[in-house]
C-alpha cells in the first residue's frame, strides 16, 4: 500500500471522506455496543426510534442542537483562522454568569431584560476568550493551553458564586441561585424545552458568519491569516488583530449558548456540569465536521444533537451509562482527524 498525493481533490471528495469517517465511527461504536452485550443494530434502532421517530425525542434533539449550533459556528470561524479555541465550555459558563448577574441584580424594564442578558452573556464569553487572544498576541502563549485552562477557572467561578454570594435565599440545601423572573425566561415552543429565539439566533449567526468569511473584506483578511500567516505578514495584515477579532466572535457565540441554557431551560445559575454537560467540547467536533464553513454547522450541529439525545435514550431504554455519548464523540473525532489525510491523498494498492 502507498499514499499518492492528489493535486486537486474535488469538493465531493471531502463529503465522501467525511461520510466514510462517520460510517467508520458508527461501526466502531457498534463494536462497543456489542461488547456491552447489545446488538449494534438494535441499539441504533432504539436510538433512532427514541429521537427522530418520537415527538418528544425531536424536542430533545433540538434542545441539544441549540448550544452546539451557537458554539459551533464561532469555532468553525476560529479554526479557519488557526485560532484553536478549546475553551468554549468556559466561555459558555462565563456567558451564563454574566447573564445571571444581569437577571439577578440589575433592575431593568421587563422588555429590556432578555436582550440585556444576551448582550452580557456574549460580552462575558468574548472577554473570556479575548483574554487568551491577548496573552497569545502579547506573550505568544499558546491559546490551546490558555483556553483549556480558563475552562477550569470558569467552572470554579460558577461554583464559588452559587455556593457563596449568589446562593439563592429559598434553596435550602441545594446549591444554585434564585430563580429568574418570568420576563427573564426565554419563550419556548409550546410544551417543550426548545427556546426558539436562541435557535433562530444560531441559524442567523451561521449564515451571517458564512457571509462574513466569504463575502467581506474582514473575512478575506481572516482567511489570508488562517491559510498563510507568512503571506499575511508580507501583506501587512496584522495577525494579532485577526486573532483578537475571531476570539471575540467565537467567545461571544459560546457566551450566547450559556445565556440560552440558563434563560431557556434552567432559569437559574446552577452547577457547571449540569449547566452545560460538555457542549463546549462536543462543539469542537461539530466545527471540525463543518470543515471551516460556518453555514455547514447547520447540518453538523443537529447530527451531534441527535447523538447526545440518543445517548439519553440508550441510558433510559437499554440501561447503558450516559458516558456512551463521550465514547461516541471521542471515536468520531478520532475518525475525522484520521480521515484528514485522505482529503489530499489516496491509497493505492500495489
Amino acid at each position: 500500500m502507498r499514499l499518492e498525493p492528489l493535486p486537486n481533490p474535488s469538493p465531493l471528495r471531502s463529503v465522501g471522506v467525511t461520510l466514510l469517517a462517520l460510517g467508520l465511527a458508527f461501526a466502531l461504536v457498534g463494536g462497543v455496543f456489542w461488547a456491552y452485550g447489545l446488538g449494534p443494530l438494535e441499539a441504533y434502532r432504539t436510538m433512532l426510534e427514541g429521537t427522530l421517530l418520537d415527538p418528544r425525542g425531536w424536542q430533545e434533539v433540538l434542545r441539544r442542537t441549540i448550544p452546539l449550533l451557537l458554539i459551533g459556528v464561532g469555532l468553525s470561524l476560529a479554526f479557519r483562522t488557526q485560532f484553536y479555541n478549546i475553551g468554549a465550555e468556559g466561555q459558555l459558563l462565563l456567558g451564563a454568569v454574566l447573564a445571571a448577574g444581569v437577571a439577578l441584580f440589575l433592575p431593568l424594564p421587563p422588555a429590556l431584560s432578555l436582550p440585556a442578558m444576551a448582550l452580557a452573556a456574549a460580552l462575558g464569553g468574548a472577554l473570556w476568550c479575548g483574554l487568551a487572544a491577548w496573552l497569545k498576541n502579547r506573550l505568544s502563549v499558546n491559546e490551546i493551553l490558555t483556553t483549556l485552562m480558563l475552562n477550569y477557572v470558569a467552572q470554579s467561578l460558577v461554583i464559588y458564586l452559587i455556593n457563596g454570594p449568589w446562593r439563592g435565599k429559598d434553596v435550602r440545601g441545594y446549591i444554585y441561585s434564585d430563580r429568574f423572573a418570568e420576563h427573564q425566561q426565554l419563550p419556548v415552543l409550546l410544551g417543550t424545552n426548545v427556546h426558539w429565539p436562541t435557535l433562530a439566533l444560531g441559524v442567523v449567526l451561521a449564515l451571517l458568519l458564512q457571509l462574513l468569511l466569504f463575502r467581506s473584506t474582514l473575512g478575506f483578511r481572516l482567511r489570508v491569516v488562517g491559510e498563510n500567516p507568512g503571506a499575511a505578514r508580507y501583506l501587512g495584515i496584522p495577525q494579532s488583530r485577526a486573532f483578537l477579532v475571531v476570539a471575540l466572535i467565537t467567545g461571544g457565540t459560546a457566551g450566547l449558548a450559556g445565556f440560552g441554557e440558563i434563560a431557556g431551560i434552567h432559569h437559574r445559575l446552577i452547577e457547571p456540569t449540569q449547566l452545560s454537560s460538555g457542549y463546549g467540547f462536543t462543539a469542537i467536533i461539530v466545527a471540525w465536521l463543518a470543515r471551516g464553513h460556518p453555514a455547514l454547522v447547520l447540518l453538523t450541529a443537529p447530527l451531534m444533537g441527535l447523538i447526545l439525545a440518543g445517548g439519553d435514550v440508550l441510558k433510559v431504554a437499554l440501561n447503558m451509562p450516559f458516558r456512551i455519548v463521550d465514547v461516541f464523540s471521542g471515536v468520531m473525532l478520532f475518525a475525522l482527524i484520521g480521515s484528514e489525510l485522505f482529503l489530499h491523498y489516496r491509497l493505492r494498492l500495489r
Partner: protein
C-alpha cells in the same frame, strides 16, 4: 562505447490532464555524463522520480545492463545502483556528517564511528573534500552536496543522478563540483546531470538529451551542440542571449540607504553598515551566496524587519515599517518564497491577484466584497500577463511556478511602482517565463521605477542590472557598474576574495 548501463524504453507517465513523459527512450553508458535538459514542466523531474522509484511509469520499461527491472521505491533504486543527489540536501542539520551517512546504512553498534574509514576511502578516492566530524548545519551548500554524493556512493551507486546541482553553488563551487564529476566519470560511474544552465551543460556533459513537453526532442553528442541550438530545442523557438539593456540616463534618487545595521533573531549581525543610492529607472543587482544578508536587506526595505541602526529614505522620507503602507507608497515586493509568502495557495487565482487591492473599490464595496469585480479584474490580469490557469477560481496551488510568479507580478505591478524589490524572481522558471518576468521588470524601469534585484543567477544579474553589489557577511561590496565587472570577479567577491 559498449553496452548501455541503463536503458529507458518508451516510458510514459500520465497525470490527470497531462502526459508528463511521452514515450521517452534513452540510454546511459558506463563512464559518461548525460545532460538532461528541458524547461520546467518538460518532464525532467517526473523522469527522475521514475528512475528513483518515487513514481511508477504507466507504460514502458527500464533495463539495467540489458535486463528489465522494476523500481518500486528508492530502496529498489539503490539496490540497482541508482543514486540521487537531490537539489536541496536532505540531511539532519544537528548531526555530524558521519552520523548522517550512517543513517540507514551503518552498522547496528557505533554506526557513525565504524563508517568513518569507509567515508574517508570513498571521499578521498574521488577528491570529495568532506570532514566527517563536522556538523551539517555548519556546512556550506556545496559541502552538503558533497555529503549527498558520498552518501549515494556509499550505497554503491553506479548511476548518479544530479538534480540541478549548481543552482545553489557559486561559480567556483560549481567548478569544484565539475572536477568531482570528472573523477567519478574516470572511475567508470555514469552521471545524469540535470540543469537548464546551458554553459554548464556544454562544459561538462558528453551527450545531452533534450525534453520538451514530455517528449525527447533531441539526443546529441555535445560536440554537435551549441548554446543557441540547445536553447531552441528546449523552447521550440529562437532565443537571444545578448544584454538587452542600455544604461538609462540617471533619474532622481528614489531610495537612499545609509549605514544600515541589523541583527538576526539570534542576535548575530546580519547587516553591517549597508549603504547605497538608487535612482529612478535604475536596476541595482545584489549578488551573494544565500545567508549573507540579502534576505535581511530586502526585509528591511519591505518593512518586514526593523533595522538596529542606519536609515532608509524613500524619495527623501523615512521608510515606514508597515508593508501595507509601503505598497500604497509604491513599493512592490516580489518575494523570495512564492508559496509561503507571495501567495495564499489555497485561495483562488482571483483572490491571490486581489491580495493587495481587496480593500479598495471596485473589489470592496464598503465592508463587502464584490465577487463580480473580483473576477473581472482577475480576468483582465490573467489576459495581460498570459497566466495559464483553467479559471480565475482555480486554487493558486495548482498553478506551475511560472504562472504563480506571473500572478505575483501582475498583482505587485498593477499600480505604478516607484521601487520594486525582486528576490530570485526567475528561480525555477523556464526560459519563456523568465523572459516574460525580465521584460515586465524592464518595462517598469522605463516607466520610472527603480529595481533592487536579488539573484543567485549571475547571468540574470549581468544582463539586467545597471550596477551590481555583492553581499558578503552582511557587508555590501560595491556597487560596481555592470559593464565594468566580470562574472569571475563577482564570484570571487561572493566568497570573500578581492575583486
Amino acid at each position: 562505447m559498449g553496452k548501455p548501463l541503463l536503458q529507458l524504453r518508451d516510458i510514459t507517465k500520465r497525470f490527470p490532464g497531462v502526459v508528463a513523459n511521452d514515450r521517452v527512450s534513452l540510454e546511459l553508458y558506463p563512464g559518461e555524463v548525460l545532460a538532461l535538459l528541458g524547461e520546467n514542466g518538460a518532464g525532467k523531474s517526473t523522469l527522475v522520480s521514475i528512475l528513483y522509484g518515487l513514481y511508477r511509469p504507466d507504460e514502458g520499461e527500464i533495463l539495467i545492463e540489458g535486463s528489465p527491472v522494476r523500481i518500486a521505491s528508492p530502496v529498489d533504486a539503490l539496490r540497482h545502483g541508482i543514486g540521487l543527489v537531490p537539489q536541496h540536501p536532505v540531511l539532519v542539520g544537528r548531526h555530524t556528517v558521519a552520523e548522517n551517512l550512517a543513517l540507514g546504512s551503518g552498522a547496528a553498534l557505533f554506526p557513525s564511528r565504524r563508517i568513518l574509514p569507509l567515508i574517508e576511502r570513498i571521499a578521498g578516492g574521488y577528491g570529495l573534500q568532506v570532514d566527517p566530524r563536522a556538523y551539517v548545519h555548519q556546512l556550506s551548500p556545496g559541502e552538503k552536496q558533497r555529503v549527498e554524493i558520498v552518501r549515494a556512493l556509499l550505497r554503491g551507486a553506479k548511476v548518479l543522478i544530479l538534480d540541478e546541482p549548481t543552482s545553489v553553488l557559486t561559480p567556483q563551487e560549481a567548478q569544484a563540483l565539475f572536477r568531482v564529476m570528472r573523477e567519478l566519470k574516470a572511475a567508470g560511474k555514469s552521471l545524469i546531470f540535470i540543469s537548464h544552465k546551458l554553459d554548464e551543460v556544454l562544459s561538462i556533459a558528453d551527450r545531452c538529451v533534450v525534453l520538451r513537453r514530455g517528449r525527447v526532442v533531441g539526443d546529441l553528442p555535445i560536440e554537435r551542440a551549441s548554446k543557441t541550438s540547445l536553447a531552441e530545442l528546449m523552447v521550440g523557438r529562437q532565443v537571444s542571449f545578448e544584454r538587452r539593456r542600455q544604461t538609462p540616463a540617471p533619474g532622481p534618487v528614489v531610495l537612499r540607504v545609509e549605514g544600515l545595521e541589523a541583527r538576526s533573531e539570534r542576535g548575530l549581525p546580519t547587516l553591517r553598515g549597508v549603504g547605497f543610492e538608487l535612482r529612478a529607472g535604475e536596476v541595482l543587482g545584489i549578488a551573494g551566496i544565500a545567508g549573507n544578508g540579502q534576505s535581511e536587506l530586502v526585509e528591511v526595505l519591505a518593512g518586514l524587519r526593523r533595522p538596529q541602526g542606519g536609515r532608509v529614505l524613500l524619495e527623501g522620507k523615512s521608510l515606514p515599517s508597515d508593508p501595507a503602507r509601503l505598497f500604497t507608497l509604491g513599493v512592490a515586493h516580489i518575494p523570495e518564497d512564492r508559496i509561503r509568502m507571495g501567495s495564499v495557495p489555497n485561495m483562488s487565482v482571483a483572490e491571490n491577484l486581489a491580495l493587495r487591492s481587496f480593500e479598495q473599490p471596485p473589489i470592496a464595496h464598503g465592508f463587502l466584497l464584490n465577487p463580480k469585480a473580483l473576477a473581472t479584474q482577475a480576468q483582465e490580469q490573467v489576459r495581460a500577463y498570459a497566466i495559464a490557469t483553467p479559471s480565475v477560481h482555480t486554487p493558486a496551488r495548482l498553478l506551475s511556478g511560472g504562472n504563480l510568479q506571473k500572478v505575483i507580478l501582475a498583482r505587485e505591478l498593477a499600480t505604478q511602482a516607484r521601487l520594486i524589490l525582486a528576490v530570485h524572481p526567475t528561480y525555477g522558471l523556464d526560459i519563456g517565463a523568465t523572459e516574460q518576468v525580465h521584460e515586465a521588470l524592464l518595462h517598469q524601469t522605463r516607466l520610472g521605477a527603480a529595481v533592487v534585484l536579488v539573484s543567485e543567477d549571475l547571468e540574470e544579474l549581468l544582463s539586467l542590472s545597471d550596477r551590481i553589489g555583492v553581499m558578503h557577511r552582511g557587508e555590501l561590496l560595491g556597487p560596481y557598474a555592470a559593464t565594468e565587472v566580470s562574472r569571475e570577479q563577482i564570484g570571487l567577491l561572493m566568497t570573500g576574495g578581492a575583486a
